[in-house]
């Protein structure tokens, strides 16, 4: 069984983890996911253990992606219904090229075996050997990015709730900005546009990793999405619901004017 595959070939959750398989399914369904490679948990562990043969194999597989790369953990034993490892396992953005990939994979493997990750496992009753798959993708350099709920997660209303900010979506996900908030109904009609206070943008740094860029006061309070983009996001929400079912939590980005899907998962708690 192949344990290093192109993302669109990732099918086995037990090997690659739910994030990789979710993105693989999205690619097979024609959703706009950036190209990538999925690595199984045992491959990631072998790289962390310094196994030369596996390291070379992984470097070769990631080479066609060029650089920079987004390297995201995809917990193999993650059970979204019972426990979430969000925030426990590392994601590394802007790994310059496939040559730097092995040390990035080692860091991610250790993040799943860190004291805090293990304490978390003990708390939720999952004191078992962690296995962490990884998704390696070409890193986007987005103008805007954020999250979208295909159904209002607070009221349960049948409307899209979109949060957006400048640069990489991590600023929104990590709560580093007050994002713009938009509500859009299924027909595409915009119900609400509330500008946030987006004082920083997370951008890729030239030597790898990310930097926080200060945003001018004028731009910080200006809406970062127009109605055409909101229409595209509404379309993406509809396609995700067709493929996966209702109540999805989506991470997205606009890069060079194109909308990309970065992650799509079930909302763990919806409705009042």
């Amino acid at each position: 069984m192949k344990e290093v595959v192109r993302l669109e070939k990732a099918r086995e959750t037990a090997l690659f983890g739910s994030k990789a398989v979710g993105l693989g399914q999205a690619m097979r369904d024609g959703l706009p996911v950036p190209p990538g490679v999925a690595l199984s948990g045992s491959v990631v562990e072998a790289v962390a253990a310094g196994k030369d043969r596996v390291i070379k194999h992984v470097e070769r597989a990631a080479q066609p992606l060029g650089g920079p790369l987004a390297v995201r953990s995809s917990a193999v034993d993650e059970d979204g219904a019972e426990a979430s490892f969000a925030g426990q396992h590392l994601t590394l953005l802007n790994v310059p090229s496939s040559e730097e990939l092995p040390s990035a994979l080692s860091e991610i493997w250790w993040s799943a075996n860190s004291d805090s990750a293990i304490s978390y496992r003990q708390r939720v009753g999952l004191f078992t050997r962690p296995s962490v798959g990884v998704v390696v993708q070409s890193l986007l350099d987005p103008e805007t990015a954020g999250v979208m709920f295909t159904q209002n997660p607070v009221t349960g209303a049948d409307e899209r709730v979109i949060e957006a900010s400048w640069g990489l979506g991590e600023a929104v996900v990590a709560g580093q900005v007050i994002p713009d908030t938009y509500r859009v109904d299924r027909s595409g009609q915009v119900l609400e546009r509330t500008p946030g206070l987006k004082k920083i943008a997370i951008r890729t740094a030239s030597g790898g990793g990310t930097v926080e860029e200060q945003i001018s006061p004028e731009l910080a309070e200006r809406l970062c999405l127009d109605d055409d983009q909101l229409g595209e996001l509404n379309g993406l929400a509809g396609r995700c619901e067709q493929v996966y079912g209702s109540a999805r939590d989506i991470e997205w980005a606009f890069a060079d004017g194109t909308l990309y899907l970065l992650q799509c998962r079930a909302v763990t708690r919806a409705g009042p």
């Binding site: 310094g50 860190s114 004291d115």
Partner: protein, 136 residues
């Protein structure tokens, strides 16, 4: 190459009495881990995930916020929380860039269970800690 260099582990007092073949076997279980100067390596009260031996660099041990000792190459730490599945007894902060070899709980336990020499050395180390605590 897989695991960590055998020579590096042979310099660690805990493994000094093992023969080369035995050290070779356990070297494949260890994984390299680097910490930057100033980084907290383990935090007192947190659950324990791994046992570490220091290859290069130094680290300061704090117990209850008080500086306790300095760890240097060849020293090891983290075994107590792995043995009793309890919490870390000290906070350890990298005094310089630190290169460690780590062994997770899931590899550490079978290693000690299988290897009486390592088990005995760990017991001796525990006994010293116990005696020091008793004698104040």
């Amino acid at each position: 190459m897989a695991g960590v260099p055998v020579e590096a582990l042979q310099r660690v007092p805990l493994f000094a009495d093992l023969n080369k073949h035995e050290v070779k076997q356990i070297a494949t279980l260890f994984k390299e881990r680097r910490f930057s100067e100033g980084e907290t390596v383990v935090r007192q009260g947190s659950g324990g995930a791994a046992f570490f031996v220091i290859e290069s660099g130094e680290a300061t041990v704090f117990v209850g916020g008080e500086e306790y000792t300095t760890l240097r190459p060849g020293d090891y730490f983290g075994e107590i929380a792995l043995i009793d599945e309890g919490t870390r007894m000290a906070t350890i902060v990298a005094l310089s860039d630190l290169l460690c070899y780590g062994l997770t709980y899931w590899d550490f336990r079978p290693l000690v269970e299988k290897n009486g020499v390592i088990g005995w050395k760990l017991l001796q180390s525990m006994a010293k800690i116990y005696r020091a605590a008793r004698e104040g």
